[in-house]
């Protein structure tokens, strides 16, 4: 169990975060660049001192600013940190990089087994400069595992590698973390990377934890408009629930529905979400799908459809599937959720 509840001073804001990760659990910290994600990892690793707070790992208090004050130095923490730069020692062979840690079992059996799992068997005597990016990352991972660290911190380790390699390496980390039953924290600014790795997703922005939940739940039910923006909602359409006689009840103005480009179906499906009719203002291929910009009233949304839609008179009818709604305060306003099988009793505001 890894627990951190800290406050760290940054130039523009204060990072205030409390996370706890169980043994064998994989937590992803997702947020924009400069949100304080790396700072949080560095506090856990002991590279940055928090202004206030406590870090504990498996019952050992690593940092505490309250009595008894503790600041265990990095070399006694047994916390592994993997960064985007693999950080291999260029003057040592792969074998000596792998067994660098004083705690690394020098026994040939474990090294040989790990080298085989990581696909490094034939590279043990090579110098890091000869390795490809993926190989270097595998050596860096193997080095942490041979060091038998009690927690694994991953700071966007695979940014810059191509997608298939990222998938392989992520799978490898998941497997090894599960086998060793150690807590793992991944920092990512790509949502897909975070989701591929984690069984729990935490959204962080400007030093504050905004939401903590299952990787799909956070995306489907963002707790606030800001979270929605961070996880990819590209448009917000003003809506109102129709009151008796089609009149909007007073006092619930300013509600918007978030439209995620990938949570949109072609055509009108009133039982599945909010039907939107908009003017197509632009379109482009997006991977294998088609992306279109839609102007609904004054709101601009972006949608992604499997097929390029047939647009008539410049208008397109689509359905935003089960969209999350937010009040004027930016917080989730679930009042328009109709429950399964029933039509959404909302209208798009003029």
């Amino acid at each position: 169990m890894l627990e951190a509840d800290v406050e760290v001073d940054r130039r523009e804001f204060i990072v205030r975060a409390a996370i706890s990760v169980a043994a064998g659990e994989r937590l992803a910290l997702f947020g924009p660049s400069g949100a304080g994600k790396t700072t949080l990892l560095e506090v856990i690793a002991g590279l940055v001192a928090p202004r206030r707070g406590r870090v504990a790992l498996g019952g050992r208090v690593l940092t505490s600013t309250e009595r008894p004050v503790r600041a265990v130095p990095p070399w006694q923490r047994r916390v592994g940190l993997l960064r985007q730069e693999p950080g291999l020692f260029p003057h040592l062979s792969v074998r000596r990089n792998l067994t660098y840690a004083p705690t690394a079992a020098a026994s040939g059996a474990e090294l040989a087994e790990l080298a085989q799992v990581l696909g490094l068997g034939s590279l043990l005597s090579a110098r890091p400069a000869r390795l490809s990016g993926g190989q270097a990352h595998r050596v860096a991972l193997g080095r942490l595992l041979l060091a038998h660290c009690d927690a694994l911190l991953l700071d966007e380790p695979y940014a810059g590698l191509d997608a298939s390699l990222r998938r392989v390496l992520t799978g490898l980390v998941i497997r090894l973390v599960t086998e060793r039953q150690i807590p793992a924290v991944l920092v990512a600014h790509e949502l897909a990377d975070a989701q591929a790795f984690a069984d729990r997703l935490v959204i962080i922005d400007r030093g504050a934890l905004l939401q903590d939940g299952a990787p799909d739940e956070v995306v489907l039910r963002p707790a606030s408009r800001r979270v929605a923006e961070l996880v990819g909602y590209l448009g917000f359409v003003p809506v109102r629930p129709p009151g008796p006689g089609g009149q909007a009840p007073a006092g619930i103005a300013g509600i918007v529905a978030g439209v995620h480009p990938e949570r949109v179906a072609d055509g009108a499906h009133p039982d599945r979400g909010i039907v939107l009719t908009g003017v197509v203002s632009g379109g482009r291929p997006a991977g294998a799908a088609w992306e279109a910009d839609l102007l609904i009233g004054t709101a601009q949304i972006t949608i992604r459809l499997a097929d390029r839609p047939a647009v008539q008179d410049g208008e397109l009818v689509v359905t935003a599937l089960d969209p999350p709604c937010f009040g004027a305060d930016g917080l989730a306003a679930p009042l328009v959720d109709p429950g399964p099988g029933r039509a959404w009793p909302v209208q798009v505001s003029e």
């Binding site: 130095p73 070399w75 047994r78 985007q84 020692f89 660098y100 840690a101 705690t103 490809s132 660290c149």
Partner: protein
Amino acid sequence: MSWAASPPSATGGVRGDDPSGRRPAGRRRPVAGPRGLRSAAGKASLAGAAVIWLALLGPVITLLTHLSWQSIVSSLSAPGAFDPLIVSLEAGGVTLAVLLLLATPLSWKLARGTLPFPRFWEAGVLASLLLPPLVIGLLLVFMVGPFTPIGEAIGHLHLSGTNTFFALVIAEIYESAPYYVLGAQAAFGSVPESLEQQAALLGDRPLRVFRRVTLPLAAPGLAMAAAVAWARAMGAFGAVVIIAYHPFGLPLQIWTSLEETGLASALPFALVLLVVALPLPLAAYIWSARARGRRRG
């Protein structure tokens, strides 16, 4: 596989590898125009480089062409001819040892920015680089001379800060230390801090990190810095002539030979000085270039 995350040092070459220096606007002109200009500029800069290189090497070439075997033999076979060489080697060795021991930690701290008021510390190092050696010598007399507090303190240890081997070492340290500190600072600065952090997280205490990561990675640069400092110490003259006229080192031997018997008899000692002072820097240069090449793969 080309997506390899290359070290910063390697990526520096990317721009240089790109042959398309041409701008779109340049395409309208005949291709030979800009290319011809470029090659003319290239030739001019090559010629300039050759001139300055030859000019810099000129004294060495001159030395070799003006020496005759006879003069070498007669100068070096005089009784006690090798004493200055031995004095210089001993003083240089002690100087280098002192620098390695005392100036290395300073360089490391300067490189890591862990000292309070770093500019202040750097200015102190630069002072002895910027002061003319002759002035340093003068000031040293007033600092460690026999009738000064420091001089008296040294006297209690039965040492003297003027005209002794000890004084020679002091003068050589002042003349060579800034070269070593600045070079070593650059060498330590080239070691990524992230590697030291990684070593610490893997369980190494700071001293072990220094021994296993920082020192090996900085070694080529440190060797260069030490070699330059050695050459400066061997050739130290300005400060030496004032506070350590005795015992004679090689530079003073050259100076007195010149004064007493003329140019011709000074030249063999100049050759000896070069032969002693240069091999270490050259060896360090070759070794560090090879070590860096190995790491870049």
